[in-house]
């Protein structure tokens, strides 16, 4: 065991910190879940990209730094620590990109990764449908073969699509074999949202910001080279992405360490004398550090070539409930101010409440833990 950083890693951290200290907008940006705020965030993403901080773990050819997993972790920690803006490009960079690296053709990678990294093209995830939420395999949107045109014609409704109203592209699952049941016969498509036949309707999330969208496809033509992975193998391809979503990439420990620091600061401002509050804050700190350490253990394994398994479900339940706890504690400190909408904690609280719901509800995750990690019977 060695919990120290190498000289190179320390240098990497110093470089990231220095750049972030200079460049992070001190007053923050308007919510990225609004059209206006989204545009501001894209400017920030562009600045990140220009300084080669947008996709540190990617190859240099696509705008990255070939950073190791450790460096990536360091960067994410510094990013959160600096209070830098939410990444509105995260669904592309953290969910689609790993899948493109694993399943994409060279042509697809060259076509999509650079514009994704720069924020010129922005991606939303087309998984959920009105009748396929927790039960993702119930997807009924379909793609019909158009042999003549060399592609597929997509129809159906995707919903609860995060920032779908502002993105240029969607990656989604559509049913290509209508006879196949459940997770068989799905195909993974890359869909430019300006294709004729696509209608996007934004709608509000819990806090009222237009962070959700319906994406309707009505006979939308998508050529063969926008199929990611093999036809009818979309589930397998998508699950690789889902693994990233639940695991390391989306919820860096740095985020919860940063939230805990802000909570500690808030408590100090208010006197920090109440043993009840002290217990809750200490628990937050313990959990945030536990999450960090468990991530270090995971990265050690990944660096040794091991693959992440169903354990990512443990992580997802843990960070999402930690996030809720941290914000609940902060609102408890705020007393009657807690109900004020302007407080960053109220905004964060509402966002935290999405954690146990999205990317597979925590109920589903607990089933996965019980069945795949502990080996309990499905039925």
């Amino acid at each position: 065991m060695d919990l120290t950083w190498s000289a190179d890693e320390q240098a990497f951290r110093a470089e990231a910190r220095a750049w972030l200290e200079t460049n992070v907008p001190p007053a923050g940006l308007a919510s990225g879940d609004t059209r206006e705020g989204f545009a501001r965030h894209l400017e920030w993403e562009r600045a990140l990209f220009d300084a080669r901080w947008a996709v540190v773990s990617w190859p240099q050819a696509y705008g990255g730094r070939d950073a190791s997993l450790w460096e990536w972790l360091i960067f994410e920690e510094e990013y959160s620590r600096a209070g830098a803006p939410q990444r509105v490009t995260q669904n592309g960079i953290f969910l689609l990109a790993p899948t493109l690296f694993e399943f994409g053709t060279p042509g697809q990678r060259d076509r999509f990764l650079p514009t994704m990294a720069s924020g010129e093209e922005t991606w939303c995830q087309g998984w959920s449908e009105p009748d396929a939420g927790s039960d993702l395999a119930a997807i009924s949107s379909r793609a019909v073969r158009d042999e003549l045109a060399g592609g597929w014609r997509l129809s159906g409704q995707k919903t609860w699509t995060t920032r779908g109203a502002f993105c240029t592209h969607l990656f989604g699952l559509y049913r290509t074999d209508s006879d196949a049941e459940r997770h068989r016969g799905l195909t993974y498509f890359l869909v430019p949202l300006d294709t004729p036949g696509v209608t996007v309707r934004g709608f509000g999330r819990l806090d009222g910001d237009e962070g959700f969208a319906d994406v309707f496809c009505d006979d939308v033509f998508v050529p063969d080279d926008l199929v990611l992975g093999e036809v009818d193998q979309g589930w397998k391809v998508a699950m690789a992405t889902t693994g990233s979503e639940r695991g390391l990439t989306l919820r860096s420990p740095g985020r919860f360490l940063a939230t805990t620091s802000r909570l500690v600061e808030l408590a100090r401002e208010r006197g920090a004398a109440d043993p009840l509050v002290r217990q809750r804050i200490a628990q937050g700190q313990i959990d945030a550090e536990a999450y960090q350490l468990q991530t270090l253990a995971t990265v050690t394994k990944l660096s040794a070539g091991e693959h992440p398994g169903a354990e990512s479900s443990l992580t997802k339940v843990f960070w999402s409930e930690l996030d809720v706890q941290l914000h609940e504690t902060a609102l408890g400190l705020a007393g009657h101010d807690a109900e004020l909408e302007d407080s960053p904690w109220m905004k964060g609280w509402q966002f935290a409440l999405s954690g146990p719901i999205y990317a597979g509800t925590n109920e589903i995750q607990r089933n996965v833990i019980a069945e795949r990690v502990l080996g309990l019977p499905r039925k």
Binding site: D135, W160, R205, G208, G335, H336, L340, E341, P356, I357
Partner: protein
């Protein structure tokens, strides 16, 4: 010994229930989020016509001369429909405090502890309970708007330039405990609505080929909510009774009621949201209107922790 409401009390409750079903459907609550006042259009005037708003005002002053135990179920009903009105502030606190004919028909709003006053812009009279307690005319006051997470609850900081009437300790105490009782009852009503609407959803919503309400994870969450409400409600009713008969322990009983009802409603809100999944997380769906009211009222007039400490004082320090 009889722990039940009278036929008259239940009939009054039913009448208010029916009135609110008509005058305050979810569309009215949603409308109050964006209209000018944050309030319902007709529910308030209909409640006034029925005499509800002056229920605690003595008959001599044009009220109904009723007591807390007669109106606690009415407050619960207003919670159930998330009535966007200063109902507790006026009916349980302001009107009986002023106890004038004008009070029964005008609008009084109140704050306790919190510098922000709900619905101050449309009130005639503003009551502040806390460090300096007074009654002031709205016309003598300068207001500045603040935004609650519950957009129908219009909040204002208030600067009074007139010479407000000071309140004595007994007036403040009566007002404070009545208001706290009222919010407790509303929280129970809010919790019941959240539970009912979630039950409806999980029975209808199918995933994996079955209603999601058939999963134990959902069942047990909603069972826990049902249990919490089952045991919070009698504490609220007992508190109303104790205020009515001036039981020496009445304040502790109200503190117990607020702690239990805030916790039960908060649990109801949390599980309702989780059981609704992304649907409940959508602004267009009505669920969040109730959830945010719970957040606001659970924190208002002392949160559960604060009231539990009052209970601790009563049982440990005396």
């Amino acid at each position: 010994m009889r722990f039940a409401f009278t036929e008259n009390q239940l009939a009054f409750r039913d009448a208010v229930h029916d009135l609110l079903a008509k005058e305050c459907p979810p569309s009215v609550v949603r409308d109050a989020w964006t209209n000018e006042t944050g309030r319902s259009s007709t529910a308030w005037t209909e409640l006034a016509k029925m005499g509800v708003l002056g229920a605690l005002v003595p008959e001599a002053q044009g009220g109904l001369g009723l007591s807390e135990i007669d109106v606690v179920l009415l407050a619960e009903e207003t919670g159930r429909v998330a009535l966007p009105e200063p109902f507790v502030e006026h009916m349980l606190v302001g009107a009986p405090l002023l106890a004038t004919e004008a009070a029964a028909s005008g609008i009084t709003t109140v704050t306790a502890g919190d510098p922000l006053v709900p619905y101050a812009d449309t009130a005639d009279t503003i009551v502040r309970l806390g460090h300096e307690s007074f009654v002031a005319d709205r016309d003598d006051s300068t207001l500045e708007a603040h935004r609650s997470v519950d957009h129908s609850r219009r909040l204002f900081s208030v600067e009074t330039s007139g010479s407000p009437r000071a309140l004595d300790a007994a007036e403040v105490s009566t007002a404070y405990w009545r208001g706290t009782l009222g919010f407790s009852a509303q929280l129970v009503g809010l919790g019941h609505h959240l539970l009912a609407t979630t039950v409806e959803y999980v029975v209808a919503r199918r995933q994996f080929g079955v209603p999601i309400g058939s999963f134990q994870a959902i069942k047990h969450k909603l069972a826990d909510v049902r249990i919490a409400l089952e045991f919070a409600a009698p504490l609220v009713y007992r508190a109303a009774y104790s205020l009515t008969v001036s039981d020496p322990a009445a304040r502790t009983h109200v503190a117990m009621a607020k702690a239990a009802s805030a916790d039960a409603a908060t649990l109801a809100a949390r599980h309702a949201l989780q059981c609704h999944g992304a649907m409940g997380y959508s602004f267009e769906y009505d669920l969040h209107l109730w959830i945010k009211r719970v957040w606001a009222l659970a924190a208002a007039w002392g949160d559960a922790t604060w009231h539990r400490e009052l209970v601790a004082r009563a049982i440990l320090d005396t």
